[in-house]
Amino acid sequence: MGIKVELAQISSKLGDVEYNLNKHLEILQTSSAECVVFPELSLTGYVLKDLVYEVYKDSENALNKIAENARGCAIVGFIKEVRPGILRNTAGVVVNSQINYVYKFYLPTYGLFEERRYFQPGNPIRDLNIFEYKGLRFGVIVCEDAWHYEPIEALTMLGADAIFIPSASPIRRLTSHKLFIQDNWEALLKAHSLINGIWTLFSNSVGSQEEEYFWGGSMAVSPLGEIKAKAKLFEEDRIIIEINIDENRKNRFFSSFREHISTFHDVLREL
């Protein structure tokens, strides 16, 4: 018996926190899962540009309302003012009405992304945390952090058996076959899952925001590298996945996950 997690693949209305809050509350009230994971910046939308300065306060108030109302566990994207004038792209982790904050470490600022213009990155020394709910130990990272080894690796070493990844991944580089970016994400999640013996759960935004289009396709990958559930492309969807810790054991009994040569990190530190 595992714990049920819902990936709530929603289309947030850009800058309309009230509309987005109502959508969150409705999903939380109707979900049969123990934990609901919303996309990155789910309360505000992603392509905010200077709207960031107009919605950050409302987004935190909305998160507080969710904490008052939510049973169980919810992961919600919003903007946290960590000190006056300093904003971070944040996932609010609500467990039994208690709010914790997970900050994005790697802020994409290339091509279409311009997060460094608005946000301060999290600091791994202070900001790496894992959480526990109904026996499941999990970590949360935000989108771009899955394109690097360390955030997921560190959370796994801290004890996480599942990683929730709220994301806002837009379509780009279309090819003759399918969505190239979807291929990329599948490969990333499978690699993280296999290497770390963990569940990876990717909750992506969907829909149009300015020029960009978030493709959806949220998915859950088991520690054996299998895609266990997949949400629809291009439309709102809600999928539920049961996380069974036995799958972590199946990976870890027969892999070298238990081996960790930390001196590699001594080398990395010097590079």
Partner: protein, 279 residues
């Protein structure tokens, strides 16, 4: 077109169709409009854009705005597309723009073909916006990526639109998409022309065919290859590669909003960056 480029430009067109129709629909909904209006010339771009619009919404209206320089073939092709998208009589309007253009020419006292050509494009824009306002629709543009990059359009003429659904597809890709969507072959294969004066063709004016132009644009601006490398890969003289690249560079002003000279601490455009979807 080198096989390498053709392969890169060949997309999953069923997916592209679904995607673009969805984006048009989303944009109409998000902007609080009831539908879309489009100008149909009978060329490949406006044919494909019309088909996509008709897939996005039932609330569309098509304007046919021929002038004395419009080939009869184009009008026939426009009617073929109207049939393809089941545009019944209430869904299209034909307006001959010659009297409107003549009034402008008279006021400006010119019979220069380029000035007159641009007046035609801007008269069509004015008509499209007037109809859009009448119906509470938005204006769906038909420009493709090749034309936009080259600056091969009239500023505030065919460039004056609300959205550009084909703006990230090269002409070659629009043709492929057209074939997939069932646009008749004679429209797909017809030499593209703004038809602003008699005998005008895009490829004649630019001096290269679109397959070559698109190869140069793709390799230079997406793969960021050098002009020398492109000349060898595409098998065209270096000076022609340079000419295309120069067209892109000198037309940047057509792709951006007008420049505002800064005085304040927060000026529009440069550091006042709000999304369209603001309220």
């Amino acid at each position: 077109m080198p096989e390498y480029v053709r392969e890169k430009l060949t997309l999953n067109f069923p997916l592209v169709t679904e995607y673009l129709a969805k984006r048009i629909k989303d944009y109409i909904n998000n902007s609080g409009k009831n539908g879309g209006i489009i100008g149909l010339s009978g060329g490949i771009d406006s044919s494909v854009a019309s088909v996509l619009l008709s897939k996005a919404t039932e609330n569309f209206h098509v304007l046919l705005m021929p002038s004395s320089s419009t080939p009869k073939e184009d009008l026939d092709h426009a009617f073929t597309i109207l049939r393809l998208i089941n545009a019944t009589e209430s869904k299209y309007t034909i307006i001959n723009i010659d009297p409107i253009v003549d009034q402008f020419r008279l006021a400006v006292k010119t019979d220069d073909k380029i000035i007159s050509g641009n007046i035609k494009a801007r008269s069509r824009m004015t008509l499209l916006y007037a109809f859009a306002q009448k119906f509470n629709y938005l204006v769906v543009g038909t420009g493709d990526k090749s034309e936009l990059m080259l600056g091969y359009f009239t500023k505030y003429g065919d460039g004056g639109v609300d959205i550009l659904p084909l703006g990230d597809l090269y002409k070659t890709q629009v043709r492929m998409l057209g074939s997939y969507l069932g646009v008749p072959e004679d429209i797909v294969k017809k030499p593209p022309s703004p038809a602003l004066w008699e005998g005008q063709t895009a490829e004649g004016e630019i001096g290269l065919d679109y397959e070559t132009i698109d190869s140069i644009l793709y390799l230079r601006f997406e793969e960021m290859r050098s002009e020398n490398e492109i000349s060898a890969l595409v098998n065209v003289p270096l000076d022609l590669v340079r000419r295309i690249v120069r067209m892109v560079k000198i037309s940047q002003h057509k792709r951006l909003p007008p420049e505002i000279f800064r005085l304040s601490g927060r000026s529009i455009n440069s550091d006042w960056r709000y999304p369209r979807q603001w309220a």
